[in-house]
């Protein structure tokens, strides 16, 4: 019988020069999962000349890098990447394979899962290892990957398992796993795999590409001050910025505030925005709909300022301030400045 695979692998997303944060976040999580499964952490790295990136992967706890290098893989296109990755996985089938739930990850992972005929869970927000008993056949599985994700517009949390197929594949939302500190003394093994791609799969060409400068970095912020529909107007959103400036914080927003044109979409926190976990999250004039909470409820401390004592945001806030934000925020700024002196 074939041995049960135990390794936990991460598909490494890179632009050839730098590794995406989400891949490093996943390597940290992979270490925990691999320890529980009794396996090792691996990574699939594809590109034209990307061997130089392996050091960073080792420093983040990866023990084995499956490296596929070919000019055809210089930049991401679906078919060549799917082909090279599928082939590599067939040779070294891991127990678990994780992708960032980025546009790239969600383009690539389902194509690969379909080719391998294995299960795939989208956009997970948590991963665990645990036992499972098949409801129909009663078969017992001592250690499966629990793939935990919101569904139905964030109204429910589902735990999905793939009992029989390997690898157990999942895409994982950016920012939800914590990136560990790199240890440059760590090393590992490079295993070269075939990166060659048949000519007919190179049928899609890039005509033009545009990436906006990343102005806002909500994920790295220690403190976030977020405004919602309750802020009332675009002009009044200046109040949110003032508080953020005073605290040295980044500015966030609810979707209602973005939709109303108070602030750009890049600031949106939540299920369809950015997932954040700052040390402090101050929600001002935000009701706390599930879709918003999904992106901020893991903040270490949450302050809610809302005039409605029944607002759901108070249900997850550590500090609730019932009041008009137009009065509370200026006072808070004052008090904070005084405290600093």
């Amino acid at each position: 019988m074939e041995q049960e695979p135990k390794d936990v692998c991460v598909f490494v997303e890179s632009d050839g020069a730098a590794i995406a944060d989400v891949s490093l976040e996943l390597l940290s999580k992979a270490q925990t999962l691999a320890a529980e499964l009794g396996g090792e952490v691996g990574a699939y790295l594809l590109g034209a000349e990307v061997e130089a990136l392996t050091g960073q992967l080792f420093a983040h706890g990866c023990k084995r890098v499956y490296l596929a290098e070919d000019p055809a893989l210089a930049r991401y296109t679906t078919l060549p990447y799917a082909e090279a990755l599928t082939r590599a996985i067939r040779r070294h089938r891991p127990a678990v394979l994780l992708f960032g739930a980025t546009t790239l990850g969600r383009d690539l992972a389902p194509r690969v899962a379909s080719a391998l005929k294995v299960g795939l869970t989208a956009d997970c927000t948590d991963l665990k290892i645990g036992p499972h008993r098949d409801a129909a056949g009663g078969k017992e599985y001592p250690a499966l990957l629990y793939q935990i994700r919101p569904a139905f517009g964030g109204n429910i949390i589902a735990t999905i398992v793939n009992p029989e197929t390997r690898p157990q594949m999942a895409t994982v939302r950016e920012g939800v796993m914590k990136m560990g500190a790199p240890d440059p003394t760590l090393t590992g093994q490079i295993i070269r795999v075939d990166g060659a791609v048949p000519e007919e799969l190179m049928c899609v060409e890039l005509v033009e590409k545009f990436l906006a400068e990343k102005g806002v970095d909500l994920k790295k912020a220690n403190v976030i001050v977020s405004g919602g529909a309750g802020v009332g107007s675009k002009e009044n959103f200046a109040l949110i910025r003032k508080l953020a400036d005073a605290l040295g914080a980044e500015v966030g927003a609810s979707r209602a505030a973005v939709d109303a044109g108070f602030i750009e979409k890049a600031h949106q926190v939540g299920q369809t925005g950015t997932t954040v976990r700052p040390k402090l999250y101050i929600a001002c004039g935000i009701s706390g709909a599930v879709q918003h909470r999904a992106g901020m409820q893991e903040s270490s401390k949450i302050i809610a300022i809302n005039s409605d004592p029944e607002a759901p945001i108070f249900g997850i806030a550590h500090y609730g301030i019932v009041g008009d934000l137009n009065e509370v925020i200026p006072t808070l700024i004052d008090v904070y400045k005084e405290h600093g002196r």
Partner: protein
């Protein structure tokens, strides 16, 4: 040029306002208890197809897999410009995950005849997986273009699309046939046309015909272009072991409704004193450092 376009549409529960009670014990959806709509981004895909038809000439087929009730979603597509509708319905395909669903859809697309374009919505609002498009493309052996916002050019052999990326976009050129997944920013779906509504509200799938629909009645519907084709797993020559629960590697282990986790909330008075104490407390915990 007449392009053959297939648009995959899913009937979904309207997830804007629902609770955990809409879920059954086994983790599947209690669809009958919920208002059903056409998945919003599938309407964007349909609109894209109809715009291609208007600009270049095309035949647009709407394809849905689901319970008999999904015929409603297909009529909605006919009102909005689809020329033909196909319902794949079979108990043996129920409880399919994305792998099994994409398999069944791939069999149906093959039976429907070679399409130049297969369009899907970016994702369905019930599962939010966005997996069917790429999985269907893989099974059909087609190149895929996901997150498409615009078709810049299209002729009988190739196309150029603009697709959105995290924080930007890219323009890609590739061959036809191809599969695209379409985002909500692609267009504004047109409302049903009154004329088409009058015509197609009489469209029926055999499973909706009262009693045992006679051959003649079905032929009559077909002659008037009002028959929604209905296929089961045998019609599309699907391998039953790859359909439904047996073809689905994933299992829903547990479903929880989202609860508020109010653990020790402190009420802070909105006064100088109250806020001062709060700032003091947070500073001690080095929150602002």
């Amino acid at each position: 040029m007449t392009l053959e376009i297939i648009v995959c549409v899913k009937q979904v529960p309207d997830t804007e306002n629902l609770s955990g009670e809409a879920m059954k014990e086994d983790g599947t959806v209690n669809r009958s208890a919920l208002p059903a709509i056409v998945n919003p981004e599938d309407l964007n895909a349909l609109e894209m197809a109809v715009q291609i038809k208007e600009a270049h000439g095309a035949r647009v087929t709407a394809l849905s897999m689901g319970p008999p009730r999904a015929a409603e979603a297909l009529r909605e597509c006919l009102y909005r410009g689809a020329d033909r509708a196909i319902l794949v319905t079979d108990r043996r395909t129920a409880a399919s995950d994305t792998l099994a669903t994409s398999y069944v859809l791939s069999r149906a697309v093959r039976k429907a005849g070679l399409a130049d374009l297969v369009l899907c919505g970016r994702q369905a609002i019930d599962g939010d997986t966005a997996q069917i498009g790429p999985q269907l493309a893989e099974k059909l052996g087609l190149p895929q273009f996901t997150y498409v916002e615009e078709i810049r050019k299209i002729d009988g052999h190739s196309l150029e699309v603009k697709r959105s990326l995290d924080g930007g976009y890219e323009v890609l050129r590739g061959p036809l046939p191809a599969l695209l997944t379409v985002t909500s920013s692609a267009n504004q779906p047109r409302p049903p046309s009154a004329k088409r509504l009058m015509r197609y509200k009489k469209a029926l799938a055999p499973c909706e015909c009262p009693g045992e629909a006679s051959e003649d009645a079905l032929l009559g519907l077909r002659a008037r272009g009002l028959l929604i084709d209905q296929w089961d797993a045998d019609d599309i020559e699907a391998d039953i072991s790859a359909c439904g629960g047996s073809g689905s590697p994933t299992r829903v282990k547990k479903i929880e409704s989202v609860k508020l986790q109010s653990e020790g909330q402190k009420q802070v008075e909105p006064s100088r004193e109250g806020l001062g104490a709060l700032v003091e407390e947070l500073s001690k915990e080095h929150i602002f450092d």
